[in-house]
Amino acid sequence: MHACSNLPVFLRQSAKRSVLAALAASTLLAPVSSANAQAPGTLVFLAEDVPSGLDIDGPSIAIPTTQLGMMQLLEPLVAYEYKSAPNEDGIIMPDFTKPTGRLLESWDYDPATYKWTLHVRKNVKSCAGNTLTADDLMYTYERALNVGGAVPNAWFLMNMSGVKGFTQDVFSTDKAVAEKAKKGLGQGIRKIDDYTVEVSQETPNPLLLVNMAVTISQGVFDSKEMKAHATAADPWSYDYANNTNLPSFGPYCLDNWVKNSEIRFKANPNYYRGKAPIETAIIRKVPQGGNRISILRSGQAQLIQGMTPNQYDSLRKMPGVKVSGVTGNEGLFVVMNFNTAPFDNIKLRQAIGYAMPYQRIIDVGYSGQAKQWESVVASTYPSFVKYAPPYGYDPQKAKALLAEAGFPDGKGLEKYADKFKLTYVAEKETTLGPIVNQIRTALTAIGIPVTLDPIPQTQYGDRQIVKKDLAFAVNDQEKPIGVDTGYAMQLFFVSKAAGGLNNMMNYANADLDAQWAKARVEPDTAKRDAILADMQKTLMHDLAWLPLVEFKTQWAHSDKLSGLSWNPSNSLLLYDLHY
């Protein structure tokens, strides 16, 4: 009062107005709705972002939050049966040895002609109420062959599967050649009747079945809806799928989508496996991890993702919150580039393999939610073979190998100091920072001089994928979504000349290439597995990349929410969730 009485008259009036404003503000402070309480049948899921697009060939297909949205709308042709018992955290796990039909009721394969007959499930309806027929598959495949999207993802998996007609000609700069190739579906895929489609392969290739289970690239469009939104300029409705909707036969339908803010799904009333237990699912963008935790704790959200291992660890102790995780297909490894001396020296690579503080990385980097990675493919994938004897933390052995490599106690490595800059993604500093420091300490102890080199994600991607000039780096973001050990090895280790795609270490081994060429067309599973096992052994001996740990993919959620299941895209299927 004293201070106020000293104010000029007009300011005193202003002070009175301020009191009124404060009263108005206090009205706002009172919660205005019952939104704090969990609405029955509703799920609020907080993520780092929401889908930037929904087209399977769209420019944002590589972004995990985009895939999360697509997984709810699309339905695959084939999936995997769930195992009878969940994992130690209660997550339901797929059994990759038991593919099961989804939009396909069944399929036949004729080994003599390399022809697959796909029997389309009857009485399946889309969100728009359209009935699934062979025409929807044909439309989806024709669209894949058209490669008109920014990233020809659907074409890529058909090409990997050796389907006739899916050739590189579609990319020809000669327009006539490209146009002819884009009309080549008749060579490889034919509609037999309304519920039967025939797919022909150039050679026997088991990847077709594996790839049909990859929802985000082989999900089937509701062709009637897509065609209804086609325009003369955009006959394949890329714009519609990227910006408006992804019409399909999945468990959820799009209700509302505001890019950069939220995406809202309603359970598909026509879903052939039964309507989802959760009627409304809202994925909301909350960029700050700390805020996602606060909101989950308040009960206004029931599920969050994208936290650091330490944050998950702290959430584990909180009442009403459960953290569920799965050692699925995410791993941390070290890239050592064969094109950069001294990393072309196998003994030096092995010395580094034995100098790695695996347990410290698990404890410090992942709060114990990881395990040592003992091959170059995910341990959950079929045909995974553990390397024996495993690399372990053994500084004495590392020193001996370093001496054998010609660098006793690290002498001679000084001239390679700039090659021992350990590169990692700067945006992942919170998780990777402690890990790279552990690695630096361990390598310095045996005489290898390491410095740290955090760089932006996009620059890292450019150097990994395009320039392939990362000399020494850690990487935690490669996960083949096609569940096949051979596919994973082709992706990362086969040389470019032999069809390798993301061989970031420039590893070239003619024997390995020859083995893959053989395994790729080997119809006998036992023989194929034997070749794949031998390839893994070679890669681990050479440490084509140095696998460190397989870490858990985790989510934190209300302890009332259950039914979490895992699939190789690492995107939760909201259909499986229930209270």
């Binding site: 104010l7 920014a150 505001v258 890019k259 606060s294």
Partner: protein, 341 residues
Amino acid sequence: MIRKFILKRLAIGALQMLGLTLAVFFLVRMLPADPVSRLVGLNASPEAYAQAQRSLGLDKPVVTQLLEYLGLGSGPGLLQGNLGTSWLTNASVVSEIGASLPTTLELLTYSFVVTLLIAIPVGVASASNPGKFVDKAVFVYGLFGGSQPEFWWGLLFVLIFFAQLNVAPAPLGMIDPLLIPPPRVTGFYTLDAVIAGDFRALIDIFHHLMLPILTMVFVLSGPVIKMARQSMIRAQASDFILYANAAGLRQSQVTRYSMRAAIAPTITLVGILYGVMLGGAVLVESVYSLGGIGQYAVRSVLAFDYPSIQGIVLVITAISLLIYLALDILYAVIDPRVVYS
């Protein structure tokens, strides 16, 4: 006279925009990474890379790309009001900016209105009562409050008012996720709620804006109070105020005269801050999940989304230039000594 001044300023502004367009176009292309590699993350075959490169138009010479961007090539471009298509979402940049800009403008406008309502009276009171409570409080606030970054205050307010006291809503954007947003007409949530007559949504939107505005006001008030105080002290020391006092005018009338003289620099500062905060509010947007232009800018830069980056820079610059022009006109209205010639 004023019309000539405005036309001249608009012409200069157009030249500035052209220079900026060219600078931004070439500068983003000098960034040390290839946007194509981000696109082909899942599928890195050389054919896929070439396809992605073609889809972005990056296989063409830079001059051709520039002509296309300006609208002097085969399709519509900047001159036709087309800012291009986002490489990340495949949506038009105009529509994306149209979706995110109103959120930031709404946040900033309310924040600056509240800031002015608080900061000017406080600054005036501080200048009128040197060494007294208000003046000391302003000094302490200047040392402590105004010197902390806005994201820190934002997180602190979330912790106190949402997590501890439970009087503020969760930082979940402009509206409760369980409420249906008002139909989009202007893009401004509060205006759209009024147009729709949805007052439940309107209250909820203000409820959600409460903490972001508080955070902005807390940070912005520092320089505005300081400017108001200094300008007021300078005005009070001027000859015409001494004369007014000597003539025996009432204190309130003298204060009003002083304020009129002091308000112009303060308004200028607010205008400049508004332009700066268009992009600078990103941290507050991020803390409160508001999805404004700042967040859109950050996302675009991280994705090397050239068309979006170029569009954002142009739009923010255009708004800033318009604000500065409006300020200059306002200056003449407030201060009769200002004459445009």
